[in-house]
């Protein structure tokens, strides 16, 4: 029992990361097996879709694509204007980041940890601290990288914080998770701060970990408890944390050597160009 205690203490000091990497190649195969039934379900529901359904979906997609294209053209103009203004100000601004598309593995981890597993790892150039997005907003960041898979800690994890700014007025703050399906909260904003219900929060890019300008969430309620120094502000995450299957990993310029290593066929650049 004494040796067990020693091992236990050792693990707290993170002396086992190499063991963990070795074991995780084994456990990855287990996770893939566990994900098989739901993958099969997805596949068969796709396979047995009727022609009408597909047609309907196709029309919907074409419509939404048309709408997005129109918005994109407008955005392009704004982007140019923004760049021009920024050049006038003399500040640099990265226009586009390259992203890598990964898929979530359908496995349940410890329900008390707000983590998910994705099917890309060190071999695809993933690194610890990389930001993870879905189609609607920021999901979280990578905490552990194994050869074939990696773990993503979600915004809702109580130990996770993300620097944000309010889109309306540029007010900077920090958003932390509260765990277990609860909303996020904005920390340390005084009573008189200019916040309103419905304000959209975007990443501020401070701290150098998350790229600038991606949506984090929307303020749903502001509470001013008596006798406390700060307001209690809850935020609904913009990303569909529990339903998204495809995620995007941002290859920001902070790790240029890794970007070169990443496979080119899997990367796409989000450049705002109209075709």
């Amino acid at each position: 029992m004494a040796s067990l205690a020693v091992f236990f203490m050792d693990s707290r000091l993170n002396a086992f990361s190499s063991v963990r990497t070795a074991l995780s190649t084994v456990t990855y195969s287990l996770q893939v097996i566990a994900a098989l039934p739901s993958d099969m379900g997805d596949w068969s529901s796709e396979f047995f879709q009727t022609r009408d359904q597909l047609k309907q979906e196709n029309t919907q997609l074409i419509n939404s694509n048309r709408l997005s294209n129109i918005r994109l053209q407008k955005l392009q103009g704004l982007e140019r204007e923004n760049m021009r203004l920024r050049e006038l100000l003399g500040s640099s601004f990265r226009l586009s980041e390259r992203v890598l598309v990964a898929e979530l593995l359908a496995v349940d981890l410890d329900p008390f940890l707000q983590q998910v597993v994705i099917d890309k790892g060190k071999n695809s150039g993933i690194f610890v601290g990389q930001s993870v997005l879905d189609a609607t907003g920021v999901m979280g960041q990578v905490t552990a990288v194994d050869p074939f898979s990696s773990r993503v800690v979600l915004l809702t994890d109580p130990s996770h914080a993300i620097p944000i700014q309010i889109n309306r007025n540029g007010l900077r703050a920090v958003v932390t998770g509260r765990g277990l399906g609860k909303d996020l909260s904005v920390q340390y904003l005084p009573y008189n701060a200019d916040v309103r219900v419905g304000d959209v929060l975007i990443t501020s890019g401070l701290g150098g970990r998350f790229p600038t300008g991606y949506p984090v969430g929307t303020i749903v309620s502001i509470d001013l408890p008596v006798g406390q120094a700060f307001a209690e502000i809850s935020v609904e995450p913009a990303a569909h944390l529990s339903t998204s299957r495809e995620v995007l990993l941002v290859l920001s310029n902070t790790k240029p050597d890794l970007i070169i290593e990443a496979q080119v066929n899997e990367t796409e650049s989000i450049s705002l160009e109209a075709e």
Binding site: F7, F8, V19, L23, D110, L113
Partner: protein
């Protein structure tokens, strides 16, 4: 005897692989907290039936795998499983004599103990949901027991 000792090690291992997959299968949000502790039940059965094969070290190694699988801090599950199997080994002769429902109540205590250990050691929060896995594990124990005994007898694991 020595030849028989080596028999069926792969069966035990395979049963644990299967139980670990059961631990990972996606469930709906309301059911997630009620997931029975499949791997622990397997460990309890094997250590009860074959204490010379599946002991504290085996439990510790399985627990380490679970730690990596679940993404928690390394060593928490390993320590908890080893501790519980230590209790089982202490009482395994009595446990074998008990009728199934009495075994099941012992299982309830052990799984509850595991949950409390996890609350004490890791990020689990205390609350009424601590009892859920204990209840479901207790209900499932006769099934696991029957299946694993069938497995042990038909493959002559000793």
């Amino acid at each position: 005897m020595a030849g028989q000792q080596a028999q069926g090690g792969s069966i035990i291992l395979l049963s644990f692989v299967f139980l670990m997959v059961l631990m990972l299968l996606p469930l709906s949000d309301s059911l997630r907290f009620a997931r029975p502790e499949f791997v622990l039940l397997g460990l309890i059965y094997w250590s009860m039936a074959l204490p010379q094969r599946v002991g504290i070290t085996y439990a510790w190694l399985v627990g380490l795998m679970m730690d990596v699988l679940m993404g928690g801090m390394m060593g928490i599950m390993a320590f908890s499983y080893a501790f519980i199997i230590y209790m089982v080994l202490k009482f395994h002769l009595q446990l074998r004599q008990y009728p199934l429902w009495q075994q099941a109540s012992f299982i309830f205590t052990l799984v509850l103990l595991l949950q409390l250990l996890l609350v004490a050691l890791s990020s689990h929060t205390a609350g009424s949901h601590v009892f859920l896995p204990a209840v479901t594990s207790t209900i499932l124990w006769p099934v696991i027991y029957a299946i694993l005994r069938k497995l042990r007898r038909s493959f002559n694991v000793s």
